[in-house]
């Protein structure tokens, strides 16, 4: 099928029950049923409104006309040469243990180190894994982590997802090098629904970088992602999301991490691109000794709007979580951080921290920071803090008194401010790549 035909065929599609049925063609019965049920939930769930606390600052009804979007079917770009923008981003990456490429919601290539495959590591298109009857997919897809019942967009994703990633690392297998997902959205006005399901069995180790890019669009283009991360006892998992979409991109992600006993499940969310970015991240600490470091970095300019809604659920006692989100906002950009630490009844010995810092670079940029605590146990150590500050005049003078031009001084302060987050997760090539992207945004020369 030629690409032109594919686009024409897609053009008639709308978000609706018939698209859900089309999307499920070829799926096993359990998955078709799960999609249908998710659609029912979607229809029964109202669109989040700014009257609800969690969506107060992001007016989806105004920003996103769901009815006008064309859901991508997947498969349309298979066999085509990779777009230049995607290829350039991939060339910057260091060596990886595996790589999966997704264009317009469909996986176009998968590579995995042969030695790892021989050890039982699985890296696959999620759609293919589901169709091949992989038991973990049936058991864990949209059930425990990001089920349809989670909310309007989780339901929509569970009903309409076209493809994504299934990564499975067996017990005791350590994947030293990073596994990468490189995603590209090419068609304006489309809605792409992607899922990522990662299972790290006991005492295994992996790091996964999920990068999404697109050109600039003149119309709103949705990339919706559901991320489900499981770290079993003693496993170590790092998940990094690099959101570098172009103008018009609307990035909407639901991420949930389930960390069992003595496991580490760390995340880093980097938001640099797109017109709107909304990330809901829920970290659940399910076993004693579990640990989640949650890092975030955002840098907005022009009219960019970033909204992070995080929660740290301490279900088990003696677990640790530490969140640090830092953002710089220029132009008329808006940054929203809402975070909550919930220490459940019986989660004694919890250590939970939450910090959000914002640097405002213009008179028209706005940062809103809403940290919160909800504690139902008495033997806990928790803290939260939030700051919104401007470039310090004394710091600027200090740098300028050494000969730096005002712009150079500002850039250096911003890079240093955001760099603190990257220094906490020194993952192969991520620091350099994000630093480069920030520099490009700062028009650094």
């Amino acid at each position: 099928m030629s690409q032109a035909t594919a686009v024409r065929e897609q053009a008639g599609r709308k978000i609706g029950r018939s698209a859900v049925i089309e999307q499920g063609a070829g799926d096993p019965a359990w998955l078709r049923a799960r999609r249908a049920e998710a659609w029912d939930i979607y229809e029964a769930t109202p669109l989040p409104s700014t009257r609800s606390e969690e969506w107060r600052y992001t007016d989806v009804a105004r920003l996103l006309a769901l009815d006008g979007l064309v859901p991508t079917a997947g498969g349309a770009m298979a066999g085509r040469a990779l777009p230049d923008g995607l290829r350039r981003a991939m060339e910057q990456d260091r060596e990886s243990a595996g790589r999966i490429v997704d264009v317009d919601g469909s996986v176009v290539s998968v590579e995995l180190d042969e030695a790892l495959a021989a050890q039982g590591v699985v890296l696959s298109s999620l759609r293919e894994a589901a169709r091949a009857g992989v038991p973990e997919v049936e058991a864990l897809l949209a059930t425990e982590a990001v089920p349809a019942s989670d909310g309007k967009f989780s339901a929509l994703n569970a009903a309409l997802w076209s493809d994504g990633v299934f990564l499975y690392v067996p017990r005791g297998v350590r994947v030293d090098r990073t596994i990468r997902l490189s995603r590209w959205v090419s068609q304006p006005g489309t809605a792409t629904f992607t899922r990522i399901l990662i299972v790290a069995e006991e005492l295994s180790q992996l790091s996964f970088v999920d990068e999404i890019l697109s050109p600039d669009f003149s119309t709103v283009t949705l990339a919706n992602t559901a991320v489900e991360l499981f770290s079993r006892a003693g496993a170590q998992v790092q998940y990094v999301s690099l959101q570098r979409m172009g103008e018009g991109g609307f990035y909407l992600a639901n991420q949930r991490t389930l960390a069992e006993r003595d496991s580490t499940l760390d995340t880093l969310n980097v938001a640099l691109g797109g017109s709107v970015g909304r990330v809901d991240l829920n970290a659940r600490l399910l076993g004693p000794g579990a640990n989640s470091d949650m890092l975030g970095l955002y840098f907005g300019d022009a009219n960019q709007h970033f909204d992070f809604n995080t929660s740290q659920d301490h279900v088990a006692p003696n677990a640790h979580s530490d969140l640090l989100y830092k953002g710089a906002l220029d132009g008329a950009a808006r940054g929203v951080f809402r975070g909550i630490i919930r220490v459940h009844d019986g989660a004694q010995g919890t250590d939970a921290y939450q910090t959000n810092r914002n640097l405002i670079l213009s008179d028209t940029a706005i940062a809103t920071s809403l940290p919160n605590l909800e504690i139902e146990a008495d033997d806990v150590r928790c803290s939260h803090g939030a700051t919104v500050g401007q470039l310090d005049a004394e710091a600027l003078f200090y740098l300028m008194s050494r000969g730096l031009h005002r712009e150079q001084a500002e850039r250096l302060v911003v890079l240093g401010f955001l760099g603190e987050v990257l220094s906490k997760l020194p993952l192969g090539g991520v620091v350099e790549k994000v630093t480069q992207a920030i520099k490009a945004k700062l028009r650094y020369v």
């Binding site: 003078f397 300028m400 008194s401 730096l404 150079q408 001084a409 250096l412 240093g416």
Partner: protein, 257 residues
């Protein structure tokens, strides 16, 4: 060597920006190449304001008089332009810049002195930095630390001296660099200044201080006493010693009269 003064301050009147508060009330001062001048004075006399004004601190504003550096009107220049012209101020309270290493900061500072499109050679820079650190007897790892972030008072001063050594100014303003320093830190500053003077005898120094003790380590050519926004006496090192013995009271009375 051209002996005409590198810094000429004439009738300088100044105050806090956006406030009707006079601090300097007509200061005259000329510093020749290679000269070390010390300005001493009680708290609130305006001596620190003078240093900040010369460096271009945005919090202060000249309301009268002039400051010429190397024949150019300094008051018309941005702080970065003054730095590039050869003015350096060692801060009383150096600012913390988290996440920016000293090496990166200094590299950017040197890069800023190049023409547009010209690129600082990284190997040359590394070599220069190593050589400067060796000159000051400093540990190489120091340059990898974020600028002043979590530094002790002594480390902050050390960092100021390193920056001065790398940037090689024609005029170094030491803004109460000795305040709150223990004797070890004081000696770091003094040794640094003396080492750089030995290397470049043409470097001029304006030392702002409340205390006489730093002058035991850096020998001034001229000592000025500033009281009430004016220089009320100038002379040789003996002026500082007299001050140490009698205090500022006499000058205050004379000034008030």
């Amino acid at each position: 060597m051209d002996d005409s003064p590198i810094l000429v301050v004439t009738g300088l009147e100044a105050g806090v920006a956006d406030e009707d508060l006079d601090i300097l009330k007509g200061v005259d001062l000329a510093i020749g190449p290679g000269e070390i001048h010390a300005i001493m004075g009680p708290n609130g006399s305006g001596k620190s304001t003078l240093a900040k004004l010369i460096a271009g601190h945005p919090g202060y504003e000249a309301t009268g008089g002039s400051v010429e550096f190397d024949g150019e009107d300094l008051l018309d220049m941005e702080p970065d332009e003054r730095a590039q012209a050869g003015v350096f101020m060692a801060f009383q309270y150096p600012v913390e810049i988290p996440g920016v290493s000293i090496a990166n900061f200094l590299r950017t500072a040197l890069q800023s002195r190049l023409e547009d499109g010209e690129e600082l050679d990284l190997f040359d820079f590394q070599e220069l930095l190593m050589e400067r650190m060796e000159l000051l007897d400093m540990d190489v790892a120091f340059a990898q630390r974020p600028v002043n972030d979590g530094f002790s008072g002594g480390e902050k001063k050390r960092n100021e001296i390193l920056q001065m050594a790398v940037l090689k100014p024609a005029l170094a303003l030491m803004d109460e660099t000795d305040s709150g320093l223990d004797i070890d830190a004081l000696q770091i500053v003094a040794r640094g200044v003396n080492t750089l003077r030995e290397e470049d005898p043409a470097m001029s120094v304006l030392l702002i201080t409340h205390y006489q003790r730093i002058l035991n380590h850096i020998t001034p050519d001229v000592v000025h006493v500033m009281v009430g926004g004016k220089i009320v006496e100038s002379g040789g090192p003996e002026v500082a010693l007299e001050l140490e013995a009698s205090g500022y009271e006499e000058y205050r009375k004379a000034h008030a009269a």
